[in-house]
Structure formats: C-alpha cells, structure tokens
C-alpha cells in the first residue's frame, strides 16, 4: 500500500513539473495538482471561487478610467521643478516642504485609485519611487528634527502609503493572476532572479519557475510568477524600510495561509481528532495512514520548502520578518499533519499496526535532516522540534506495538487444540510477523535502542544483525514466550504422544521460518542448535510414548534366555496386531506438516518396529510348536505400509477445526 502511495507521489511530482511547464496560471495549476492527487476533491469549487474573484477584479479594473492615472514615470528624484502657483504664493517654503507637498499630490492620486496600482507596472514603479522619496524625506526630517509639523504630515502620508501598499501586497500574493502579466521590461529588471529559472531551458524563452527534479522530492513549486515575486519583494522592502515590517509579516502570513490550507486540503487527508483516531476501525485508519504518508512528504518536502523559498525571496535581506511570516503562514497546517502522527501513536497497539506505523516513522525520520535548512531560524525551531517529537513518539509507539505482541502471545489461552497436533495459528502468525518485521529491522533496532530523533535518526547506524542487538534479544525473548505458550497449549492434548507431535510440528515450522529469513542471523547458531535438539527430544518422546508398548510386545527376550513358548509368541502377535490397528486408526489422523519430518518419523518407527516384528515372526515360524497352518496377518512389508500411512491427517477435521480456531483470535489476521 505504501509503495503504491510512493508511486503515486512520484507521478504527482512529475505531473507538477509537466503542468507547470505548460501553462502560466501557476497558483491554479498547483492547486490542481494537489487536488488531482486526491480524486475525491472536485475542481468545481476551485473554479467557482476563481471565476468569482476574476469577475470582481475585471469589474474593478473596468471601473477605473484608462488614462487618468498617467502619473509621470520619469525619475522624480529631484521633484518636478514646475512649482504650482499656489506654492509659489507662499513665502518661505523650504525645499522639503515642497517635496512633501508634491509627494502628497502624487501619492494621493495613487492611494485614491480604485484598481490595483500594480495592474500597471509603470504606475507601480512611479508609486514605489514616490514612496522611496517619502521614506527618504521622513528620515531626513526626523534627523533634522526641526520641522515637527512637516514630519507629522509626511508621517501621515507614509501611513496612508503603507496601508495601500499592504493591500497591494496582499492582492499580489493572493491573486497574482489578476495582475497584468509582467510588462515589457519587467523581466529585464529581474535579471538577478532569472538565473534561478534559466537552468532548464526546455520550454522556450518563457521562464519556467521550477527547478528540475534532481531526486524524488527535489522539486520546488512557485505559486507566484517571478515577476510577482519581485513586485512583492519591492513592496516588502518599502514596508520594512518605513518601519512597517511587522504589519508586512502579518499580511504576508494571512495572504499565504489560504493557499497553504487549500493545498493541504487537496491532498485529501481529513483532519481527525485524536479521539476519532482512537476509535476508528483499523481498516479505516490504515487507509488514512496510507494517505497521510505521501501527503506528509508532499507537504514537508515540497510545499513547505517552497513556501520557505518564496518567503526568503519576498523578504530577501529583510531578516527577521521573513522568518516570522513563514512560520505564521505554515504553522497550522504543519501542526495538523504532525498531530495525526501523535494520534496514531496514542492509539491502540494491536500488533497488526506495526508495519503502517513503521512506514509513518520512516517517512518522518527520513525527512528530518532535510528540514534543517527549512526550519533553520529561531522562529521555526519550535516547528522543527515538533517534527522531531512526533518522530520520537512514533518510535516509542513502534516499540510498544512490538512489545504488545509478546503480551498477546503470553495471554493467548490454550482453549482449543489444533486437530491432529498440527501447526497452531499463533505459530504461523508470530513467525510470519517476525519475518515481516525483519524487513524493517534497521528501524526496529533504532527504536529499540531508543536513541532515535535526538540526532536526527540517521546519524547513528545501528547494526541489528547480531544476536546481541536489542532487536535480536527481543526477538529471542518473543520466541521464548512463544515456546512457553506452545508448551502450555500442548498440555491440552490428552494423548502425550500427540502433544509431542504438536510441539514437533510447531518447532519444525519455527525452524523452517527462521532458516528461511534474516531471523536466522538475529537468533544465531546457538539458538538454532537448541531448537533442533528440542525437536529431536520431542521426536524421541513421541517414539517412546506412542510405540513403547508395541516394542515391549515385540520383545522376545534375549537369545541367551530360553525361548518363549509358541503360545506366548502368538499372544504377542495378536497383541501387536491389536496395537497396530489402534495406533494406525488414531495416528493416521495426526498431522506432521513438514514432509521431511514426516518421512523421518515414519522411517524411525519403521526402523525400530520392522526388525523387531520380523524377529517375532521368524521366532514364531521357527518355533517347534508352531502350527503348520500358522496365519501371519501382516507381512513386515504390510506393517511398513501401515506405518507409511500415519500422520496423513484427515482433511475434514483439519478444515473444520481450523475454522474454529481461526475465528476467535487475532492470529487469523493476515500480514
């Protein structure tokens, strides 16, 4: 499931690249990509809202007269010398006063405009120049400190400029497409920015605001076209210069938040409360997790770094404000995603959850080092810490789930026996579980050692492949618990040899599974030797328990001792026949699952029974008292054939019995 998500994610990334290369309305395309990622969210709403916004913008632009805003775009550095008559009439007018008055006139025109100033780049340039002049004038007045009245006037004008700039700033960020495409010469002024985009020139001369994917997630999306970024940066610089940096940061965060919220919403992950996660059926939660992992990567590897980059560009050289703005914009969505990790960690620790939680943990752990450059500043340190914390929490949850397995094995009651002494579902479950867990042994070892997160997780390479590693010790412990549980379960067989068969079967299965996987490395040779000797011991116990009376019946005494009378020998033969019937009737229903073991056990029986039987028969035949018409029911080959039919199991019992067992415990779950 996780792999599937991975593929989808990669495909999505490819798609982002492709889509962005084709069209020019980037915000919309990015949102589309995020929503394509999840089929459930329709685009209709998006288009509806965009259409409404566009209509409003058109209406606004239409309302504004076309020509009346022809403010001179020529360098107004020295204020226009043409002094209006009114000014000339006043007596001692300082040049600063004149400057302020001129700027007031210019700026008032702009501030009164009822369409975006940035809709026309010439207007924008002129306005910015006026603002620059004003800022310079205010500073000059402030430094001189002689004309308080004029300073207040200039300050008042500045505050109007800033309010207007903030509106323009927000509009440019929220609706970059409403602003006219970069005017001629717009790019020329962007020379410095452009080098970032020129790297891949596969799309003609149009700048493609995207880096070529170097690896999976090395993709940056730019929600704003480069021209807008530059415009927005120009405004931010003026606002910070004028001492309105805090307002600027707040406005930026407020303007970006909508896009970020929407992008995350389009990834199709539902916000879940911890309570919900707690009570959700596993299947549903598993589905949520499968969505969450790629969404988490998407957000932390693409969306947030892209936001960081955008923010860094907008607030380039305007140090703390960019960091403030970035955190304020990104915080809620980041925390919401993290919170799901917390919720899953706090939820049930049923063993089947292990693998999905490992997936989550690995997703978080793997991106931790990459977050450092994104969350490097002190303002986002808390966010970085939250990601580390959720990594830790998921880690201890994994540890807990893994330990819970042990708990479940120990508590598994020995109520119903497996018919025929076959392999118990718990053995299958545990062994397959451990084998699967071995696939994640690096991660498991990491969380068992408990040194995760502190150093970013990846720094310490732990080697789980040694029988002394925490994971190996723990697995050995689980095997021990399983062994004890199986021994308890074997006691419910009334027939002791059947108990031995049961233990043998399960032991052999365990050996097989261990040899067949990395479990062997973890458990080590010693463990394996011990396990094999156990199986041999159970085999002997079985032989002794099941065949002892047969063998004693076949005993005809040592050759030194006087021979038994034929009558006694006949009696022995009769008893043997009886026992054989009995054993075959019972034990043909028993099961030895492993073919080799079955052959071995049969061979061992044959090896001890057949010669003894042949001995008895030949004794009988050679006995002087033996009747001429001595009837021997079984030839030694018959006996061997009967033995060969042992342990075949009877299918009907196995099926119904299996069902009965599987239905009631967790062990039936598939891994």
């Amino acid at each position: 499931m996780a792999e599937d998500g991975e593929e989808k994610l990669l495909a999505t990334v490819q798609h982002i690249v492709k889509t962005l290369g084709r069209t020019d309305t980037m915000t919309e395309d990015i949102l589309k990509v995020f929503s394509n990622y999840d089929g459930r969210l329709s685009l209709d709403k998006l288009y509806a809202t965009r259409a409404a916004a566009a209509a409003a913008a058109v209406a606004a632009a239409g309302g504004a007269g076309a020509g009346e805003h022809s403010v001179p775009a020529s360098p107004p550095m020295p204020p226009p010398p043409a002094v209006p008559p009114a000014v000339a009439a006043m007596p001692a007018v300082t040049s600063l006063e004149r400057t302020v008055r001129t700027l007031d006139r210019q700026i008032s025109q702009f501030v009164a405009m009822d369409r975006l100033i940035w809709a026309d780049s010439a207007d924008a340039d002129a306005f910015l120049e006026a603002v620059d002049d004003l800022i310079g004038t205010v500073q000059e007045l402030d430094a001189a400190g002689t004309n308080r009245g004029l300073l207040d006037r200039a300050d008042e004008l500045l505050s109007r400029c800033m309010a207007r700039l903030e509106d323009e700033f927000r509009a440019l960020i929220e609706r970059p497409d409403d602003v006219a495409p970069p005017a001629p010469g717009g790019f020329a002024s962007d020379e410095s920015e452009e080098e970032d985009y020129d790297a891949d020139d596969g799309y003609g001369d149009e700048p493609i605001p995207i880096a070529k994917p170097v690896s999976d997630f090395d993709v940056v999306i730019d929600a704003l076209p480069p021209g807008s970024v530059s415009d927005v940066h120009q405004i931010a610089r003026r606002m910070v210069d004028a001492g309105f940096g805090r307002e600027c940061a707040e406005a930026y965060a407020a303007a970006r938040r909508g896009f970020i919220d929407e992008s995350v919403a389009r990834l199709g992950i539902r916000a879940r409360t911890i309570d919900e996660v707690h009570s959700l059926p596993w299947e549903e939660l598993e589905f949520d997790i499968a969505r969450w992992i790629p969404a988490f990567k998407m957000v932390f590897r693409i969306l947030i770094p892209s936001e960081r980059r955008l923010c860094d560009r907008v607030f380039d050289g305007l140090a703390p404000y960019g960091d403030l703005a970035f955190v304020a914009a990104v915080r809620t969505q980041a925390l919401q995603l993290i919170s799901f990790g917390d919720a899953v960690s706090a939820a049930s620790r049923a063993p089947e959850r292990l693998f999905r939680v490992i997936d989550m943990y690995e997703a978080v752990r793997d991106l931790l080092p990459d977050l450092d450059p994104v969350f490097a500043d002190p303002y986002s340190a808390a966010l970085r810490a939250e990601v580390s914390a959720v990594c830790n929490t998921l880690g201890s949850s994994i540890k807990g789930i893994f330990m819970e397995l042990e708990n479940l094995i120990r508590r598994d009651p020995a109520r119903v026996s497996v018919p025929g002494g076959g392999i118990h579902p718990i053995t299958r479950y545990v062994m397959n579980y451990l084998r699967a867990a071995c696939g994640s042994r690096q991660t498991l070892e990491e969380v068992m050692e408990g040194d995760l997160g502190a150093v970013g997780g990846a720094a310490i390479a732990v080697d789980p492949d040694r029988p002394t590693s925490s994971l190996a010790v723990h697995i050995a412990w689980i095997m021990d618990v399983l062994h004890k549980n199986l021994e308890t379960k074997s006691k419910i067989y009334r027939d002791p040899p059947l108990a031995s068969i049961f233990l043998m079967n399960n032991g052999k299965y365990i050996i097989h599974k261990v040899n067949d996987s990395e479990l062997g490395v973890l458990l080590g040779d010693e463990w394996m030797k011990q396990m094999m000797s156990r199986v041999r011991r159970w085999n002997l116990e079985y032989q002794r328990g099941a065949w002892a009376k047969v063998m004693s019946v076949l005993q005809t005494g040592g050759p030194g001792i006087g021979s038994l009378p034929a009558k006694a020998l006949l009696q022995k033969l009769r008893m043997f026949n009886g026992y054989l019937e009995e054993i075959c009737a019972i034990q043909s229903e028993w099961v030895i699952a492993d073919e080799q073991l079955r052959e071995d056990v049969r061979a061992a029986i044959t090896d001890s029974v057949k010669p003894a039987y042949m001995g008895l028969v030949s004794r009988l035949k050679s006995s002087p008292e033996a009747a001429q018409d001595l009837f021997i029911k079984h030839s030694p080959e018959d006996v061997e054939a009967r033995i060969q039919h042992l342990f075949e199991g009877v299918s009907k019992i196995e099926v119904s019995g299996g069902k009965m067992l599987l239905g009631e415990t967790v062990w039936s779950s598939q891994i």
Binding site: R148, D152, R160, A163, A171, E276, A389, T393, A454
Partner: protein
C-alpha cells in the same frame, strides 16, 4: 521506563522546575512505612497539597508548606502564570499516580480490577489530548492577537507627539485585531466584546479605510484577509462535547472500594478540571457552549477525600469566573485576554474620542490606554510561549504514561 528518558531525548527545551520536588517526593515514599494504606494516604495528601497551592491567595496555606509558599499562591486565578502552575500540578499529580500504581504493582497489590481502573483512567486521559491540541491552537491565536495589539500600542508609545499618521496606523492594527476577535468569538460561539468591536469597527475604522480604493480592493481581499485561524483540530470538533466525554462516568467510589478506586477518581477529577480550565481560558471551537454548561463532574463530598475541599473551591472559583458578567462573552477567560480586550476597547474609544491634533488630556488618555495594552502584550509575550510548550508537555506526558501503563501491566503479568 524512566520519565527522564524522554526529556533527555526530546529536543524541545522544555524542562520543568519541579524535577527537584519530584525527587524529594520520591524520597518521602521511601522513608514512609511501605504498604498500601500509607501510599494511598501519601498520594492523597500530596494531591491535596498540589490543589491547595492553586487556590487564590486568600485561602493560602492549604498543605501547610511554609517555606515554599513565597513563590506560590501569588498568581491571579486564570492568569497565564496560574494556568502554568495548574498544568505543573497536573503533571506532578500524574507522576505521583504513576509511582503509586507502580508501587502497588510491585507489591502485587494490583488485581485485574485495579488494572482495569488504570486503563480506564488512561482512556479518559487520551480524551484530553484533543483539548491540549485545541488549547495549543488557542494560545497561538492569542499570540496573533498580541502581535497586532502590540503594533498599535508601540506605535502610540513612540517618543514624540502622537499625530495622524500614528493614529491611522494604530487604528488599522486595532481594526485587524477586531476582525480576528470577532471571528474567533464567532467560532467559539458567543457575541459580547467582539460584536461590540465589530459594530464599532464599521463606524470608527471607516475613517481608517476611507480611501475609495479600499472598498473595491477589500471586496476581494479583506473578507479573507485576517480570517480566523484554521484550527488544527477538525472543524466538527467541539470543546463542549469533549469535556463531557472526559467527565463521563466519573463518579466517586463507594466507601468499600479500596485500592486504586480513590486515586483513579482523584486523577479523573483533576484531569477534567484541567481540561475545563484550558477550554475556558483560551479560544477554541464551541468553547462558549462548554462554559454555559460548565460540565464539571459530580463533585465529591467535601469530607470524602482530603483533596476534595481544595478541588471544590477551585471548581467554584472557575465557575464564578465563567459567570462573571464582564467575562461571559469574552474570547477566553484567561486574565491576559480579558485585559487585552478591555484595553483594546479602551484604546479604540480613546482614539475615537481624540481630536486631531492630539493634546492634553486626550493625548494622555490615548497614551495611558496604549501603555496598558503594551503591558499586557509584554506579559503575553513572556508567558504564552512557555504556556504553549507546557500544554505540549502535558500532551506528551499523557501519551507516554498511557504507553508506559501498558508496558508495566504487561510485565506485571509475567
């Protein structure tokens, strides 16, 4: 699993001062005659002392700890400092509870019924996790208010005369703030101060937004501009329902119920109290319903437990705060929020009343209101971040203690 383990590995700089007191408490345990009776008595005594220390100044004394009383008891109820101490006490109580359970287990005095009670408590505690998350969002939201309020205040407190430019800038910040306050109050479901501000804004801030451009520009932007914070808890989440769930089935144990029944009940009560206080203090979804109903659980009889009197007094005080006329429609009962709202309103009024240019009494009024606002902003800047971290700490403690509880009960079964 030692508690310190997580603190060591966690990179968050949240270390708490109670480490030492915890150690000394543990030493107490060792020194005491062992046995369930003694443990239970010690647990209840410490529990009562923790709660007692939270009581407002006039009831000072509580557990009788003379020397340490200097720092404690000074905070006003529902102030940031008080909430922080409340959370600290909760963490301390939880730690005591953990030790108590561990000791009962070690003695083998924890039968299946006892384990079941512990599990029940953990289930209850897990329900408080969502409250922690909502409170964290709420605290963050308050920090946002503070940022805007502080812009207004610091502009007006700048040296020199106050002139139109500064007033305009302050008005703008206050107007943005009022939008937030309105939205958040609406989200938490009440009117009050914020609705006053909302109506006020249209009238008085109209001047600030007088330029014709704003109307048309604002049409597209302002509606979505300083919109309310998007909660990281899901939208349908209700603080009121959550509180009810936390308090559900919380009933005083009968006299014959020995063992864990009393400590589990005590923990349930304090958990509920803490959750209620958090919801009451900061903005969160459906907060006002929670306050109106103020679902505090069935209270224990005053004489039933040593900790019942301080708990009841606390509950009563909190309920009183919630009912106070001037606080009923607030965005949060947090003292600092109340001050912020009040001084925002005062400053808004002062600015409205001020003729341009400002002089004399008018200017003094504006400056005074701005100074008040600046003071509360400073207090928020100092207090809210540690508070937020502490809310997270409570969150992680609850998760960890639940996990730990499972581990121990498992090993105990061996």
């Amino acid at each position: 699993m030692p508690v310190t383990e997580h603190q060591g590995s966690s990179s968050s700089p949240s270390t708490f001062s109670f480490g030492r007191s915890l150690l000394s408490l543990r030493r107490d345990h060792v020194a005491m005659p062992s046995g369930e009776e003694a443990d239970l008595e010690a647990f209840q005594r410490h529990f009562a002392a923790s709660l007692g220390e939270l009581l407002p100044g006039e009831v000072e004394g509580g557990g009788g700890g003379g020397g340490g009383g200097g720092g404690g008891g000074g905070e006003e109820i529902l102030s940031v400092a008080w909430i922080r101490r409340l959370l600290e006490s909760f963490i301390l109580c939880q730690e005591e509870f953990r030790v108590f359970v561990a000791q009962a287990r070690r003695r083998g005095a924890l039968p299946a019924a006892g384990e079941k009670l512990v599990v029940e408590f953990h289930e209850r505690a897990v329900k408080a996790l969502d409250v922690c998350n909502a409170a964290r969002d709420g605290v963050d939201q308050v920090r946002r208010w503070e940022r805007l309020a502080d812009i207004a205040a610091s502009v007006l407190l700048a040296p020199g005369e106050i002139h139109e430019g500064q007033l305009r800038r302050a008005r703008k910040a206050l107007s943005d703030l009022s939008v937030l306050l309105v939205d958040d109050t609406a989200a938490s479901g009440s009117g009050g101060v914020a609705s006053f501000l909302a109506s006020h804004r249209n009238r008085s801030f109209g001047r600030a937004r007088a330029s014709p451009s704003r109307a048309s520009l604002a049409g597209a932007t302002s509606s979505s501009h300083f919109r309310s914070l998007s909660w990281s808890v899901s939208r349908a989440w209700s603080a009121s329902r959550q509180l009810q769930a936390i308090g559900a089935g919380l009933a005083a144990p009968r006299a014959h119920e020995a063992g864990l029944a009393a400590p589990v009940y005590a923990m349930g009560c304090v958990l509920h109290l803490v959750a209620w206080a958090l919801v009451a203090a900061v903005p969160c979804p459906d907060r006002s319903t929670a306050l109106q109903a103020h679902h505090l659980p069935a209270a224990p009889a005053r004489a039933a437990f040593p900790w019942a009197p301080p708990l009841l007094t606390l509950q009563e005080r909190l309920a009183e705060e919630g009912k106070r006329k001037d606080r009923r429609n607030s965005c949060g009962l947090l003292k600092e929020i109340h001050v912020l709202e009040k001084s925002t309103q005062k400053l808004t009024d002062a600015i409205d009343a001020a003729p341009i240019p400002l002089f004399g009494d008018r200017e003094a009024d504006v400056r005074e209101a701005a100074a008040e606002l600046a003071a509360v902003c400073a207090a928020m800047r100092d207090g809210l971040e540690p508070l937020e971290r502490q809310v997270r700490e409570v969150f992680h403690r609850i998760v960890r203690s639940r996990v730990e509880g499972l581990d121990s009960s498992m090993h105990n079964a061996d």
